[in-house]
Amino acid sequence: MKSFSLLSRGTGVAFLAPAGLLVGAFVIAPFFWVIFVSFTNRSLLGRTAVDPDFVGLANYFSLFDAATFFTRGEFGSSLILTIQFVLLSAVVGQAALGMLLAWMLQSVPKSLKHVTETVAIGAWILPEVVIAFAWFAFLDYENGTLNMIMEALGFPPGDWLLSFPFWAIVVFNTWRGTAFSMMLFNSAFASIPPSYFQAADVAGASSWQKFRDIGLPLIRGHVVTDLILITMWSFNVFTPFLLTSGGPSYRTEILPIYTYRIAFRDFDFGKGAAVGVVVMLINLVFALFYLWVMRRRAKGVAA
């Protein structure tokens, strides 16, 4: 029997068309266009802006040139910086702090839980330029709140954005993004039947034992989801640009900022596109892994 469907195929295609056109033009086309541009010497100005030459793999050779690969301000150095940034601010910072918070929030007074969640979520939902400016004021050498606290506690003040720029953006990104992990783990913990923990309480288990033997194993799937998502987001985040512009002397120039400088400051679109291709390939690995995890989980539920 032919199954009855509500929309004819023609109407269905018509309904799909507007979204399809927009996604095609501004998501799918850029994906292929960037690959094409990365094989040219396209620039913003001059002859190569209108009539770029095909240069083969030259842009990629220049990115992976062994002589300059690790030089500060070059691609390799930026890639390594980005990996450190993602590991420290997303995996260690956001995920671990989010997990710690979510676990502790299970057993603290309601009002404290509410206030802590509110400020963490505030850090997460406010517009990025506002957050960046708040941090700029917070870290200011002469008047900033942080140095005010340091002096009150008897420590010497620091010029944080000059002396520790990399750690500044790591802490900044941790601060900015922890709310997501916190909320995800929070709802994951909340979905565990309370009787599991009550039984452990009766047996006299410590909080750490409950976390290690009950909490963590039962939300393992959520941890994987969280890690993949926040890794991808931090890998592509442009917000630190608003705090440091990539400086001083390229010390906070993670790949999105590097791409921006090559393409829109040096006007080297070909090379900027090549960086974009590498970033997208890395994104693709994470996204495929994520879909694979999701599909495996969907099958596991069905079985």
């Binding site: 009855f4 469907s5 509500l6 929309l7 109407t11 269905g12 295609v13 309904f15 799909l16 507007p18 979204a19 927009l22 996604v23 501004f26 998501v27 850029p30 994906f31 266009w33 960037v34 702090l97 710690l100 603290v108 206030v115 802590t116 400020v119 963490a120 979520i121 850090a123 939902i125 406010l126 517009p127 990025e128 330029v129 506002v130 400016f133 941090w135 004021a137 002469e142 008047n143 709140t145 909320m183 995800l184 709802s187 309480d201 410590s206 991808m232 592509n236 917000t239 790949l255 999105p256 393409a263 679109f269 900027g272 974009g276 970033v279 997208m280 994104n283 693709l284 996204a287 495929l288």
Partner: protein, 276 residues
């Protein structure tokens, strides 16, 4: 007895640690509570004496600043209309029509949209917009955001529509409605809460974003607030703190209000699942 004592101490320890982490999250924002109301605000933290609204007056009189907020509104609303309408139609088609490979389409779109991030694709996005002659127009910003947000919006809405029984529309059609009527008069009102979720999410995403308008717009009278805010610097390059603080607060207000509305209406967990 010792067991309860142990639980008690754990609770106290956790409360202290949570409070400290809460302070860590609050500190960078404390300055923002006071500076907008302080006519002599600097980067340092100080309690305004007296609280005053002169900073806001200065912002309201600054045509360029107000224009930035207006442009943000135009770009966000424009993007939201395209995302809302496009995603509703498309996900309805994916849910209800016999198009082959429907779930593959959804997943491929989702895959593309997570791979093609703004920072990876800034070069081709700029070149495509430049190529179709839309550089330095607000419509360019609207179109790029609509394309980028649509796959996720479709994914969310499709889940939503799949959970609605087909019998709603079927009975309408038995009563003589055309498929398009069944969509507009029967399905649409039922899907509305899902559309609200998508629309709020898209609005907040566009309202707060910096990179796309930053690379696509050149003339200052088209800049949204996120880019316009960088004009509040004196010629020496130092920020005009009083203006910046008041402006930042005004600019943050819609996001905060929407968040409160949504968490009041849909519960707290809504923002957890979806963010670009």
């Amino acid at each position: 007895m010792t067991r309860y004592l142990g639980l008690y101490f754990t609770r106290i320890g956790f409360s202290v640690a949570t409070a400290l982490i809460g302070v860590f999250f609050a500190l960078p924002l404390v300055w923002f509570i006071f500076a907008p109301f302080n006519p002599r605000a600097e980067l340092g933290l100080s309690i305004p004496e007296p609280f005053s609204l002169t900073n806001f007056e200065a912002v309201f009189q600054n045509g360029f600043a107000m224009r930035g907020l207006w442009n943000s509104l135009v770009q966000s609303v424009g993007g939201v209309i395209l995302v809302g309408a496009g995603a509703t139609l498309a996900s309805y088609a994916l849910s209800r029509s016999p198009i082959p490979g429907k779930s593959v389409i959804t997943y491929i779109l989702l895959l593309f949209s997570s791979v093609v991030s703004g920072s990876a694709a800034m070069v081709p996005i700029f070149l495509i917009i430049n190529g179709i002659g839309l550089i330095d127009t607000q419509i360019a910003v609207i179109l790029v955001f609509a394309g980028g947000l649509l796959p996720t919006a479709m994914f969310i809405l499709r889940d939503f529509i799949d959970s609605i029984p087909k019998s709603y529309e079927e009975s309408a059609m038995v009563a003589g409605a055309s498929p398009v009527q069944a969509f507009f008069d029967v399905a649409l009102p039922v899907i509305r809460p899902g559309i609200v979720v998508v629309v709020v999410w898209a609005f907040v995403s566009i309202w707060g974003s910096f990179l796309i308008p930053f690379i696509l717009l050149r003339s200052s009278e088209k800049m949204p607030a996120s880019v316009a805010i960088y004009s509040f610097y004196s010629e020496a390059g130092t920020p005009i703190v009083t203006l910046l603080a008041a402006y930042s607060l005004l600019y943050s207000l819609p996001v905060v209000i929407l968040y409160l509305l949504v968490s009041w209406k849909f519960g707290f967990r809504f923002f957890g699942g979806i963010k670009a």
